[in-house]
Structure formats: C-alpha cells, structure tokens
Amino acid sequence: MTEEKLSIIEALKTICEDLFSKRVISRVLAFTEGEIKEIPVVSLITNPEGLKGLKWDESCNKPLAKLLLGLKPKTAIIARPYDARAVVMYINENQLKRDDVFIIGVGKDASDFPVFDAFAKDPSPLQSAREPSPSRGSLDFFLAEIDRCILCYACRQACWGCYCPSCFMERGIPDWTPAGVGREAKIAFHLGRTMHLAGRCVECGGCKTACPSGVNLKYLIDSLTQMCYEEYGHKAGMEEGARDPLSDYRCDDGQPGFLE
C-alpha cells in the first residue's frame, strides 16, 4: 500500500474513533483486510478495535450504499462519490432517513459529493466508471452480450437501484418473461432493468464488475443517463429532494420520435 493510501486510512481511523467515542454512530460500513491480501472484505465495524483492519486502495471498488438498507441507525459509511449519490437517491425514494446515516466521503474533491458529514482527501481516486461506447446502436453487439449472459442476476444484486423485494423477473402474475433462460427472457430482463434505471444510475460500475460472464450492457444505461441529463436536466443523486426524471414531467417536454 502506498504512503498516500496509508495516510488516508489513518485519517479515516481518526474520524471513526472520534465518532465512536462521542457516540454519534454505532457502526461503520467499510472495507477491511481479508484472508486474501488482494481481496478486501466488506465489514460492519461495531467498535473502535474493529478499525484496526481498515483497508483503502484500488481493490476497494465495490459500491457499499445498498448495504445500508435495513441497518439500524446510526451507521457511518465510507463513501466514494457514487455511494453518496446512492444515499441521496435512497433518501429521495424514502428508503433511508438522512439523519440515520453518517457519510464519510473519500475522494479527490469534496464538491464531487452531493452530501457528506466528514471528508478525507484521496488525491488519486478510482476513475469514473463511465466510458464511451462505440457499440451503441449495433444489434449484433447487443445480442453477442446477451448470449453471454447466464441470467444469474449478479448485476441486479450489485446495483443500489435494484432493491425491490420482488423483481419483475420473479413475478408470476403478470409474467413478464418468456419461459426459460433463452434470448427473449434475457432481452426482457436487460431492457426492463435499464428502463428502471433511466435517470437513476449513479455510475458506480457495480453491474459491470459483478458480472461473472463479462457482459457489458452498461452502455445502454449510460446512454439513458446522458439523455436524462440533456433532455430533462437530471443527474441521479446530485440533489436532495429531487424527483427522478421518469417520476416527473414538464409541460413543454419534447417528444422525439413520436408520430406527427
């Protein structure tokens, strides 16, 4: 671990110890050293001793925010910008109360965070997960990715935004999916999931890293993210109290592609 990362860990420890001693928080959601050096473990630290194994480097790249759901207050989360944005989305979608979370932001610039309660500077954070895709609009590319998908739902489980207790894919009535794990079912899953994330993706890249088959369909979501910004001026999780673009409207919205 580099000097830089070690000093971040020290800063995080100081912040958390202070919070524990002042009884501001009762637990911290963070990465700790695991049995295998390269693979960090996601831990719920409940006392200052637990902070010993705290870890912070490039391998700590899993989005954590989803794990906040169902936790008792008050939990601190060591958050990258996308985690903070997910927390804002949870607050906006009434899944979490602002007062129940303590956000310890770690990033290059505090202005990348829509909200935070404490901040530690990381001069060289992970790169943004957004990448341009040359494949937009190619059915061949899309179907090749679809054919590699094994419908394991790891992408859905990783996504902060997919928190429904029963996903549309698992409903019997109405049955949204053609039977089996054929192309049709996989297409229905990915198009349906992408629709549900329109204007809600916080660009954590979790869906891509989680996939065991290396499927890359995030470019579809990225394109809708861009559209929602350009058409509706919306950026997911950047503003407390904002509604996501598909739960909102303006009377002068455009209607590109509609019949005259």
Binding site: L139, T177, L191, L224, D248, G257
Partner: protein, 137 residues
C-alpha cells in the same frame, strides 16, 4: 405479405384513443386489419414492460396512443407517459432494434379519421421493415 398477417398490438387509452378507434368503426372508415387493440385506462398506465413483452413474444410492432397533452382524463398521466416513451424509444435504438417498430402518438375521441390514418401509416412502416428484414436473412 398480406397486411392481415401482421401482428401490431395497439395500447390505447380508454378516454380518447379507444373512443377514436370506436368512431373510426362506427364511421365505417377503412383501415388495415393488422392491429389488435388492448384498452387501458390511461396512457400513463402503460408500463414500458408491456411493450417490451409484446415484442419479445413476437408482435411485429406496437402502437401506443393516448389523449393529446393537456387532455388527459387524469390530468397528467400522459405527461409521465411521454417521458417514458421517449426514453424507451432511445433504449430500443441503442440496443440496435428498429425503433420504428414502436410508435407513439396522441389521438382524441373525435379523431376517427386520424386513427384510421395512423393505423395505415404504422402498418405500412412495419410491413416495410418486415420485408426488408426478410431480404436480409
């Protein structure tokens, strides 16, 4: 290809577009027999998954229509619908599907002729796509 062989699912709002289709019928206006109509209370009640499922289950095309903006029976249902449909259309394009297979429009209860025209227009577009597709494969 015969137009009656085409399967186009039309999701119509009860208050305007369905009444428009009714008027086209009572007025004995001619339009292709390709559409199968599903009546819904409002265009805002049309889940994009309906459209995805219709296509996945083999429909050649989908037509969606509701009351004109400002005329929705539930005031704002079609305002929400408009965003949903614009986003869905972009998604279908991005995935490489011909988004021409999915058409959105507004038809009021008095626009029987417009309903007939829209169905003819959509049918010929989708017919064209299908014959193009046949040549390719």
């Amino acid at each position: 290809m015969d137009e009656s062989e085409l399967k186009i699912i039309a999701f119509l709002c009860n208050w305007c577009s369905y009444a428009g289709a009714d008027l086209a019928g009572t007025g004995r206006m001619q339009y292709p027999p390709s559409v199968k109509i599903v009546r819904l209370p409002c265009s805002g009640r049309i889940n994009p998954l309906y459209i995805i499922k219709a296509l996945a289950d083999g429909a050649d095309g989908v037509l969606v229509s509701g009351c004109h903006p400002g005329d929705c029976h539930y005031i704002t249902g079609n305002m929400y619908a408009r965003r949903r449909f614009a986003v869905l259309k972009r998604l279908l394009d991005d995935a490489g599907f011909d988004s021409d297979r999915v058409q959105f429009t507004w038809i009021s209860a008095s626009e029987g002729q417009r309903f007939a025209d829209v169905v003819s227009d959509v049918t010929s577009r989708i017919k064209l796509l299908k014959t193009k597709g046949c040549e390719k494969s």
